[in-house]
């Protein structure tokens, strides 16, 4: 199984966090809020697309909404595979961190 990239990880986490309301706009907003950095639209939609293709996310087309002038939303849900991928990434990260020696000034350049 692939190791997720940072953007993919953040996207998956956002989808997970947003639950019922996980579609493009709030996902991007959430990521921007958490990272305090600007993320371009492409930086969100490309991973969303990829993750959907890998079946880490499932996309559902919502009903047309009046607030969007009759346009529907595309919602995303985290799948089992997606959850596993996140867990795996987390455990890899933990393992990496734990394998480090005690950090002291002498080891920094």
């Amino acid at each position: 199984m692939k190791i997720l990239s940072r953007a993919e990880e953040l996207t998956l986490l956002s989808v997970w966090r947003l639950g019922e309301n996980a579609y493009g706009v709030p996902i991007r907003k959430h990521i921007i809020k958490m990272t305090e950095e600007d993320w371009s639209i492409g930086a969100i939609y490309v991973p969303l697309d990829r993750l959907t293709k890998w079946k880490f996310l499932r996309s559902i087309q919502g009903d047309p909404t009046s607030e969007r002038g009759g346009r529907s939303k595309r919602f995303y849900r985290l799948t089992g595979d997606g959850y596993e991928a996140l867990q795996r990434l987390k455990s890899i990260q933990n393992a990496m961190w734990e394998s480090l020696p005690e950090l002291g000034y002498n080891t920094l350049i």
């Binding site: 579609y23 493009g24 706009v25 991007r28 607030e67 969007r68 002038g69 346009r71 595309r74």
Partner: protein, 861 residues
Amino acid sequence: MKTKIHKPPRTATFLLRRCFHEFDRDTFIGDFEEFYNEILIESGSFKADTWYWKQVIKSAPKIFSNILYWRTAMLKNYLKIAYRNLKRHKGYSIINIGGLTAGITVGILILLYVNSIFTFDRFHENSDDTFLIYKVRVTPSGEQITTDTWVPLKDELVSTYPAIENGVRMWGRGSIWVQGNDKKFQETVTYADPSIFEIFTFPLRQGSSGSSLIKNTMILDRATAEKYFGAENPIGKTLTVNYTEDYTVTGVIEDIPANSSINFNMLVPFENAMDISFVPDSGYDSSFLLTYIKLRDDANPNDLQAQFPDLIIKIWDKETESRTRFELTSLKDLNDFNSGGTANRYALILLLVAVSIILIASINFMNLSTSQSIYRAREIGIRKVMGAQKKMLIYQFLGESIFLTMFALILGVALATLLLPAFNNLVGLELEIDYFGNMTTFLGIIMLGLIVGIASGSYPALYLSRFQPVDSLKGELKNTNKGVRMRNVLVFAQFAISIVLITGTLVIWNQIDYMKNLDLKFDKENVIVMPVSTRDFENSNLAAENLKTFKNELRSTPGVLTVSGTSSIPGNYLGAFTFARPEGWDEESPLRVRFSVIDESYFETIGVEFVEGRNFDPDMATDRGGALIINEAMVKDIGWESAVGKLINSSQVIGVVKDFNYQSLQNPVLPVLHYYLGGENGNHRFIAAKITGDNVQNTIDALRDKWSSLDPTRDFTFFFLDDNLNMMYQSEENISKIVQYCAIIGIVIASLGLLGLASFTVIQRKKEIAIRKVVGASNKNIVGLLTKQFSRPIIYANLIAVPVSVYLMNMWLQNFAYRVSLGVTSFIFAGLAALSLSLIIVSYHSLSAAFENPVHSLRNE
């Protein structure tokens, strides 16, 4: 929370939409709109718009790749299906592509020709502002246009009118012997002012222009430079003109394009012409040169032309002004002007012919593709069921026809390239196809392909895309009545065009034949003409002796009947005019008539009969200068009952000859008068000999022998009078040949189309025919049934084609003073030819259908 949704810029949204596949386009656009609205609320509409547009620009690459991806995916399928269809119906495909190829080939060749005619003389940078000045003389027998002007006119014009920036005189002195580098040829030497290089665009290969045309220098064209000096450098070499004038070559120009009205091989300064004894230094007595002027950019030629009457009064007088006009013709119109207004008209006729052929080919395509539609009904049904929209199907079929046309275009270009030399021969031009060097040619040919493709593909595309999937999948789709009717209309159109072309060919043939065989009131057969004059020799006195001996020897040659020296022969009458004031003429202005200088044997040699009076007599001293022989037209113009004994300009009329056609039959016989000058003299430019016509080759050999004893350095040149006369109808012959080939191509394409259509109809109606036979129809009934269906449009085509051809051919025949009447035979022939051809084509299929055993057709039911 949100009260109102703000819409982002429309154009941007439109572009953005292209990024996404239809499938979830809306959700993405919705997301974008939400972002847009947020920025709008936070930072205002400008920021939001900018952001939105930035998104669009950033997505541009995606837009293109998206389009490309989806298009190519479908394109692959379209190409595959198109290819399979081509392969499956080989016959149709060959007829279709063959027809289109023929149409495109004809189109390319004729467009090249027309382009070259319409761009005649346009290669000069100043072609917009350069004009030839010519004079129009008003005479009782109509207006005469002549282009020859006088030595001082150019300077007079340039100094009088500020609108004229520059001018150039050009005088082509023909049939002059030029020697140099041990070579000797007869040339036309052009005397011109140095301003020729400022007015016209003749780029130099070698040497420098501007200053180079100073006195005693010469500029050659490339071919002439090679003729005299081969590979040597001609600059600085000397050529001798007419044994007396020495010129140093200072420049060589690039070859002049074939579509140029102004041509020269050897250019020398006009200054040198002033040294020639018979060239007047000044004054308005003798007109022999052409005057071109270049106007300032802002000058209006019409305003200038309006001022010319004053100039005529200044040069001559009020009386001259009342019967003379100066007019200007633009360099751009010069070719048409020189051809007497036929060049552009013929080019237009040919353009029309080319369009007709392309139309016939396109119609074939339409007919065959719509009739074949049955075979593709299922494909269309499936495509529609799978979600293809009508638009996509239209694109598909249009694309298919464009694809086929492009294939035909490649074949057509190859064929046109192959046929170009033959075509050049036919039209007498040096056309070239510069496919890649010249953007216009390249784009023009591509455009031709596209237009043909779209023209022939649009109807089938609309027709096919309209099929209802339910019908086509159930297999219930038959050719609708509407479709059949439309195809009949198209067949009708094809044959109407073909019949017009055939009649056109026949009428042109008739006219040429008529002109060649009309009784010209002289005997053009068996007359050998040798262009030679004492003026052509270094020592004209010695030459006169030699020519006299030559003529005497000719007279004693077996097979030669009479020998004559003359200034003009029919077909080559000099443009020499004189003002005649006949006895009792009370009009203010004199008659302006053409004249010729002949000896006593001239009329006998060309077999012209006298109406009254006698021929010139060398023994009558008064005949020399004091006597005239005129033609009937002149007697009629003056209004005399009998002319013999009357005076014209104090010379006595001693004879009147019949109105023999000394010019092309495009013109009526105009008044002409003949002066007498016997013996050898510089006025005679031809020796004409009437021969018996037995053993012509022997006679010619004998003449050649005599000639070489006269001057071994010169080749014996001669022509037959009748050949020379036929040359006058060259442009008519050319156009007739082109129209003829086009008529053949047109009828062949139309017939092939009909063949395809007939075979298809027979297949369609197989079962119907079988049932008809089972219930008792005879073979005759069946053949009649099918024949009727196809002959009806062709009969209608005849009905329309006849008046159209009558109108068009009458228009063409107006060019000729002597013309054939439009006989019914041409029309009957063309109509019957088209009808019988179509019957033969249709009967093949209808006969095979009639004789087919009904069991074979019906066994599946």
